[in-house]
């Protein structure tokens, strides 16, 4: 993954960058251009309609009221009827413009979201670790949202406002090109002022956001740490912190409010100043420039109409920048190459227990040192193997490679004699199954969580899987049986119970190679017994590789593999290794010291 996918950056985008992003966006989502001509035509019509009312006022004044023949009611009636029709037509056109823009934008975004989501699931596990998950979630939520917000307002303003400004200036020019120049010149000083206020306002809101998150941190301390706060009698400290945070947030919000208020008042005042200039210049020079009373009054109305879009364009400039930045981040996700590429014409794994062999297996994360070096293994089918070693010894890397969560840097893994990279992904997922330490459960029922173990599995098969593991009683004592909800991440179940669900899931898949990462947390005795018997049953007739945290697992294994510093340092049966007095004996010693009654250890 390229580093910029997961690093937050400031939405500072040069115009050239924005255009480059737009090009990439169009390549990714060509649907954006669907019917674009009609949309622009409709917008053009809508913008032109904006001048109907001022022009009507001018016509009525000049030709209907102040004309040489006095008040012409018939002409005024005709002109107002026409204007009313035009205004209504513009209303309808605006409706279609808006609807078209929104529909296309939303369709594009939904598609973009789904594609980014699917692509992220193809990332390697290393790229999906805890620290990056939040960022990746943001890619398909808040980053797409910045674009969605833009689509709802900014995008339309970008289409409509420049056209409105051009049409208004155009009409002014028809009345008097000199006056048009006066208006434009009078408006120019407004731009840097608005820009300045807008920048300060955004910075002020950045501070507000920082302060808000600090308030939330202080707040979560006194809610989530309620026990600790009370037990240690630090209520006053928590209160002081919270009040400091609330006051700081208030200060930041007050400052932001000041800038918002200022820029609002400024653009209102700017309208008045430009109007005053137009009046003063108009009444003195107007007659010489070919203006008349009606067109001067119309000019006054046009001026008030032009300030709005100018102000709005200034505001959406920043919204546009964040939208462009958000969009680019999403596109970067889509452009990130996938490391573990699935074979197109994969080989199916045979039924039954699987033989496992590794040839000079080595692995290093992208930039890091080797975490697994030159591991050579040969496991017969049906062997039960325990892997032991300290944190960082390479155990977990081995598990990742065996399940193809990552590919070896060097060497290869052969399952049933086939290079793991050539195995069909569906076959691999069914035949090689990992049961992690704390299995992830989805926020649905027990039954549906187990059914995820095999595509299209029904309730009967789920029940059968539990029965195979002698866990039918456990399901029966759940409040709703298989329909019992497990809660978010399965938190309605204990760690041990989640493990039971995971084992049933694995049983359902009927794998030939089972990789078990033992749980370490204490579980109550009933669940503990259930787990032990389920483990025995699920392992039967299958090749198993267990990352062992329990002495009993290592003791009972056919083969113990001892890892240290990324290397396989010892291999053999428990008794041999203890007798050899090497690394395993050392580990075993500290294990014993911490967990068993010395006299009890001899019996195992």
């Amino acid at each position: 993954m390229s580093p910029d996918v997961t690093t937050e950056e400031l939405p500072a985008t040069a115009p050239a960058g924005a255009i480059a992003v737009l090009r990439r966006a169009l390549r990714t989502s060509p649907g954006l251009l669907r019917g674009v001509r009609t949309t622009v035509m409709l917008a053009l019509f809508g913008a032109a309609g904006r001048v109907v009312v001022p022009v009507l006022v001018q016509q009525v004044l000049d030709r209907g009221i102040l004309g040489e023949e006095g008040v012409q009611v018939a002409f005024v009636a005709g002109a107002t009827a026409l204007a009313a029709l035009l205004v209504l037509a513009v209303m309808v056109a605006s409706r279609f413009t808006y609807l078209r823009v929104v529909t296309i934008a939303e369709e594009t975004l939904a598609d973009l979201r789904v594609r980014a989501f699917a692509h992220i699931h193809r990332f390697s596990v290393a790229d999906l670790d805890e620290t990056r998950r939040g960022v990746l979630t943001a890619r398909v939520t808040s980053d797409v949202e910045t674009v969605a917000r833009f689509a709802q307002w900014g995008a339309i303003a970008w289409v409509v406002n420049p056209i409105v400004i051009l049409v208004l200036v155009g009409v002014l020019t028809v009345y008097s090109w000199q006056m048009a120049i006066v208006v434009v010149v009078a408006l120019v000083p407004l731009l840097p002022i608005l820009r300045f206020l807008q920048q300060r306002q955004l910075r002020a809101y950045d501070r507000v956001r920082t302060r808000v998150s600090q308030t939330l941190t202080a707040l979560s301390e006194l809610v989530m740490g309620a026990g600790a706060v009370r037990a240690y009698g630090i209520e006053k400290r928590s209160r002081d912190r919270m009040e400091t945070a609330i006051d700081a947030q208030y200060d930041a919000e007050r400052r932001a409010l000041l800038f918002v208020t200022s820029s609002f008042a400024t653009s209102d005042l700017a309208g008045a100043v430009v109007t005053a200039i137009v009046v003063a210049v108009g009444v003195v020079f107007g007659p010489g420039w070919g203006l008349d009373a009606g067109s001067l009054v119309a000019t006054l109305f046009l001026v008030t109409l032009i300030v709005g879009p100018v102000t709005e364009l200034n505001e959406i400039l920043d919204q546009t920048q964040s939208a462009v930045a958000g969009w680019r981040k999403v596109l970067d996700v889509l452009d990130t190459p996938v490391e573990v590429v699935e074979p197109t014409d994969g080989v199916l794994l045979p039924p039954g227990p699987i033989t496992l062999r590794t040839d000079h297996l080595s692995f290093a994360y992208r930039t890091g040192p080797m975490v697994l070096s030159d591991v050579n293994l040969e496991l017969p089918p049906g062997a039960h193997v325990a892997v032991v070693g300290e944190t960082g010894s390479g155990k977990s890397t081995l598990v990742r490679l065996l399940t193809r969560l990552a590919d070896p840097t060097e060497g290869r893994i052969l399952v049933a004699g086939i290079d793991l990279r050539r195995v069909d992904p569906v076959s691999r997922q069914q035949r090689i199954r990992l049961v992690p330490q704390d299995s992830f459960l989805f926020d649905t029922t027990v039954g549906r969580n187990v059914a995820l173990g095999r595509l299209g599995a029904g309730t009967d098969e789920v029940s059968a899987a539990f029965a195979d593991l002698d866990l039918g009683w456990w399901v029966d004592q759940l409040p709703l049986g298989l329909d019992t909800p497990v809660g978010e991440r399965g938190d309605q179940l204990s760690v041990g119970e989640r493990q039971l669900v995971a084992l049933a899931r694995a049983q359902l898949a009927d794998p030939g190679l089972l990789i078990l990462d033992e749980a370490t947390s204490a579980v109550d005795s009933v669940t503990e017994r259930a787990l032990a018997s389920a483990l025995t049953r699920v392992s039967a007739g299958r090749t198993t590789v267990s990352v062992a945290h329990r002495l009993s697992t290592a003791e009972g294994a056919d083969l113990v593999l001892v890892f240290d510093g990324g290397r396989l340092v010892e291999a053999g049966h428990h008794a041999e290794l203890v007798a050899a007095g090497g690394r395993y004996a050392e580990l075993y010693g500290s294990w014993l010291g911490g967990t068993r009654e010395p006299p009890a250890s001899t019996t195992g």
């Binding site: 107002t80 209504l88 699917a118 992220i120 809610v223 100043v273 990742r400 991440r489």
Partner: protein
Amino acid sequence: MARPGGAAANLVRFTAAGDHGPVSSAPPAQPTASGLPDSAGAVFMAGLRIVWRYVRNQPLRFTLAMIGATGYAAGAVGTAWVLGAITDRLVIPAFGDGVTSEAAAAGAAAIIGVGLLRAGSILLRRYNGGLTGLRTRVDLRKAVTDTLLAAPMEYHRSRPTGELLAHADADVQASTEVLDPLAFSLGVVVLVAFSLVALFIVDPWIALVALVLFPSLALLNRAYTNRIASLVARVQVCLAEVAGVAHESFDGALAVKTLGIADAETERMRVAANDLRDARVAVGRVRAVFEPAIDTLPGLGIIVVALVGAVRIGAGTMDPGGLVAAASLFGLLAFPVRIVGFFLQELPRSVVATGRIDGVLAVPPGPQPGVGAAVPPGPVALRFDHVGFSWPDGSRVLDDLSFSVAPGEVVALVGATGSGKTTLCELAVRLMDPTSGSVQVGGVDVTELDPASLRQAVALVFQESFLFADPLRTNVDLTGELSGEELAEVAGIAHAHEFVLATPQGWDTPVGERGVSLSGGQRQRLALARALARRPRVLILDDATSAIDPVVEAGVLANLRRSLSATTLVVAHRLATIRLADRVVFLADGRVAAEGRHTDLLGVPAYAELVRAYERDADGGADGDGTGEGLS
């Protein structure tokens, strides 16, 4: 959509004022939750009462905002009047007999004058109106903070964390957002009154046009907010669903991979994303109808005014300037009328959120602090005397339970899950009070002890160690009293010193989002050091070493045994911990089932079975273990 730059931009900026940043222009969701009075009228009255309650506490700011709002109304009508006058006295003569440049300058000055009045009143109104809301929020947040800090532990336990956080955050925001458009809305009433008077002066028929137009605009606006509210709420629901799917799916990325269900997950996201798309397009459909209509209505009004005006000018009852003034007033009024709609729309939200906040503020404070009594000096005993405890919902946890820990003794508390061990620990530090019986430290009932004295003497280490978003040092030394050596000493006992020194800035490394993330075992070791830093005379460990690697745990326990003279109660799930103790208290169903030495208790079948399970589970810890953190 045909956005009249001015009005739309104003609406957007208006909503942004009370929020945390420029926000979308979509109207916020109407509450769909219950908690509202039955009739719309009752909601309106309840809303007004709440608004009054808030505003009363900010008299100065609100008065200034109202002065600004009234000034704005005067400025708006003044602008229209000035434009009308200028048309008659300056523009029309200019194209007839001509005008002097002094007259031109005077006209320009008049426009700038009313412009300044308007801009000034906007500043006054919006700044002070905004502050009314901001200050009310500060007051409410502080009040909620105080209540949450004083609330009994049972209250915290009985609510989801998210709900409690929402009270001080989202609820405060929602209850007060109505204050943002308040001054403007009230000002609009003044504005409409002024305008109608001004229009009547211009011409009664034109005033009649206004009397038809503005109520229709208000009605249209009302229909708009009514139609769109549920749709916008639906968008929020869909957004939450999309976020939920993304969050859960990436959280379980490993499971998704190993189960090979990426396609099914993508399908789940596709459904959620398409629902969101449809919800947004549905909102768009309504907006596409109403926004242009609301934009068009004032224009239609001006068109009618032009017709009526021409007729009236022809009849000689009106000047062209009156027509210009009326037209400009119509243009000016369109946006403020929408603000009233915005206010009315916020009112029910405020009623619901304020109800929730009032619910929190009504929570009575937790255990009354004892007065005067201090824990006697020297080693002290911890005694549970006929202690019973039930949750507010009536479920019984502890039942007439008695035992004591002698001064300097180490007692292990053993019991199956749910036997009441944690509750017992929390009663000892008076996080809660027993329903019956008493807990005594040094022979004194904890309810009579001065809280400072109790906290100083008794320290509890939780199983789930909460770390503050602070530097590591402050997390251990909560009161900032420890010297470097003392810090090193307590950290050494807890086996925390080494990993702390290995962090980028050592003791100054911050914890949490912006700092290091620690493993469960490391967190527990820090929490233990935190307790030791108090030099407690009674130390209570609630399964406080469960996530520590067994080898390290053995070291920690040995250190404790060696260096600790404190009276110690330790909840044990491992043999190693049990072996640390002089004596074991075996808890079952909220009572003491047996007590004595470990070897003696092995004769109790239930105890023996439980301990055998621990032995089978003679396990490694999750402390920083790669497979635990990286794969699950």
